[in-house]
């Protein structure tokens, strides 16, 4: 027990109300998650008969069997997701932190220009088709693993957050003294700055990791080769397929052979659980860096 300051004291009633309120919010977040897990452990026919329950009906792990025995494709997609998340996160943190660092350095000659470039593209977006043409015809990203990594490597929003964080937590004098001691720019950045701003880096890393992990959009746009599909996109495809077939069942009309290999309800949920797995574990890992909340603060463009 530490002694509370006078400002932090609240009455027992308000405290109870706050506790209850946030308890409800927490439950609202946890129940759907629990429902997904419980459905994934249910027997499909039982679900059909009794509807969804919060407790597994006719407990069976068959759906996991099914998903895992789909085997190679799913594990492969898992591998792609993990690889892309790790490589992408490292690259993203590197690029974002360096870019933010030069925008933070007031003695950098082209600071205004680079701020403007980043800001301008953040606010004014060319649209989907030009983006696609650049990715495919200029950068030749189509059907390569780079297609899943490069488009998210630079993110101006993260740069702004990180720059604000730097200017709040890093006194200019540190950089001055490093210079006087004869450190070059890279030494200053990697040996002096980076160790001091770990919480900020961790935040960016978490953002990036989640972005990469949850991404289905890039494979959707740029990948045709099944071997490069990631896990989220595989799930997205299943979801799309189910919706789509329901939509067009009538339209297929006379050609009406409807494909019959749709995964069952519980198998879909099993996929979702497997998809969440590792990224849920990433949170506690980064948690210790979030001692101080990061704010974007007052941005000057």
């Amino acid at each position: 027990m530490h002694t509370k300051s006078r400002f932090l004291q609240i009455s027992a009633i308000s405290e109870a109300i706050l506790h209850i309120f946030f308890g409800i919010v927490t439950l609202a977040c946890l129940i759907p998650l629990w429902a997904v897990i419980s459905i994934s452990l249910s027997d499909d026919n039982k679900i059909r008969q009794s509807g969804y329950r919060l407790w597994p009906v006719g407990f069976s792990a068959k759906s996991y069997d099914f998903v895992l025995s789909q085997g190679r494709a799913i594990w492969h997609a898992y591998g792609i997701t993990i690889l892309v998340t790790i490589v992408g996160t490292v690259l993203c943190v590197l690029v974002v932190s360096m870019y933010a660092y030069i925008l933070f350095r007031k003695d950098f000659k082209y600071r205004k220009f680079f701020t403007f470039i980043g800001f301008f593209t953040m606010l004014i977006n060319a649209g989907l088709v030009p983006w696609y043409i650049v990715c495919v015809n200029v950068l030749h990203l189509k059907d390569t693993i780079y297609a899943l990594i490069l488009p998210y490597v630079m993110n101006m929003w993260y740069v702004l957050i990180f720059r604000t964080y730097l200017s709040m937590s890093l006194p200019d004098s540190i950089i001055e003294s490093a210079k006087i001691d004869g450190a070059g720019e890279f030494t200053t950045f990697f040996r002096i700055v980076v160790p001091l701003v770990k919480p900020g880096l961790a935040t960016i890393a978490l953002f990036a990791a989640i972005t990469y992990w949850n991404d289905w959009w890039l494979p959707f746009m740029l990948i045709e080769n099944e071997k490069l599909y990631n896990l989220q996109y595989m799930m997205y495809r299943v979801q799309q397929k189910i919706q789509y077939l329901a939509e067009i069942a009538g339209k297929l009309g006379a050609s009406g052979i409807v494909p019959t290999d749709l995964p069952t309800e519980s198998a879909r949920m099993a996929m979702a659980v497997l998809g969440m797995g590792p990224i849920v574990l990433a949170y506690p890992f980064f948690q210790r860096y979030f001692v101080k909340g990061l704010t974007i603060g007052a941005i000057k463009g």
């Binding site: 045709e224 329901a246 006379a254």
Partner: protein, 500 residues
Amino acid sequence: MRLKKFFVVMLVLAFVVTSVIGVVTGFGASSSKLPYVKLTWYVIGTPQKDWDLINQKVNEYIKPKLNAEIKMTMFDWGEYNDKLQTKIAAGEPFDICFTAIWTNNYRTNVAKGAFLPLNKPGNDLLSKYAPKTKKLLGDDFIKGASINGILYAIPANKEKAHNWGFIVRMDLVKKYKLEDMFKKVKKLEDLEPYLKVIKQKEPGIYPLGAYAGESPRFLLDWDKVVDDDVPVSLYPNNKSTKIVNELEQPNTKALFKTVRKYYLAGYIRKDAASVTDWMSDLKAGKVFVMPQSLKPGKDAEMSISTGYEWKQIDITPPVMSTRECIGSMQAINAKSKNPERALMFLELFNTDKYLNNLVNFGIEGQHYVFKDKAKGIIAPGPKAKDYSPGLGWMFGNQFINYIYENEDPNKWKNFEEYNKKALPLLSLGFNFDDSKVKTQVAACKNVWKQYIPMLETGSVDPDKYIPQAIDKFKKAGVDAIIKEAQKQYDEFLKKTGRKK
């Protein structure tokens, strides 16, 4: 200068070496003189494990014949449309793609100029490079698939008509001795006594399948003028050329009343209005009678795909409508670098028995085995799991396809008869241009979503809800759509010289 440097650095980061394919165009029709080309082909379906292997076999076969190879890519059902729309918007020079009324929309793409016209007067590519295919399809079918008299894609040669009716679970029919229903059931009302039996004796089963989007509503078989979910239609019997709002017609009301009666009697799933996935109920063995779009042998197909034995009862007469003609086609990209060769490939694919069956069924001895080679009857082979796309209706010419041993050996003969029997609708080849009434169409679609699933499943009282729905449709501007459609249709009838 520094800016330049910065960009160069970024480019080097992102640069991936790719091979540049030389661009060559071929002319003439003898393969020995043709330059070597690579074609690309996009299709829809459930991706198959041995797809690349089959692709390789296809290439081995077509290389000496066409001096070309083809890269076949299959996209899953849900992603195909978006992927193709992106490619077309970005102007990618692929060669062939699947198109239909229900995905990668044929009419929209033609309006955009995305597809190559195949039989323009003065440049009749179809007669030049695919004469056999042209003959196979016949004039009616080509007319039905044409837009303003010009064909932009090659329809698959399959059943050229549709009709509606029911499929019935045979195990239950035998169990309760209901065989006489195949003689007696001529319309929806005739089902009642049989549904009653099932309701009483099989509490876990829905006697009648009615779901949002797949329900007895289709027995009216409206000839839809706009889209499936807009109630602007023609009667499907050529008796009248007047376009109507189907909800205002007496037969619609009568049908919805019957469905309502069945719902109240407990023959239909209680939450049917919000359920679209009827296939899984069929597979779970929970449905006794299901309305279906029919063709010869549909029951056998459903038996294979659901694991229960079904038999079909035909209710409506077969008609040939524009929908069949544009239900499954292969188009050539307007930006294709080798359109002639692509067309030559399609010609070969539609007429060559080996090539067509290779893509449809895989490799003999692996994915299928012959039961009777002379008749082309096959059974799944040891590796059938790795390649059985089941897309006969997409891949070219059904009349040269093999037949599974549990199907009717006369399947294709029945198809031919069915095609002959079908009544070609007057509206064949009529394509409504909705550019003037786009907002009304979108508004009507919203109203449709709101009311029709409830009505078609019997979840609400039609006496109360049909007038409400009609009112909402009127507010959404359905009359403006009807007026515009009628105007265009009259012009179309005049132009084609069909009776007015």
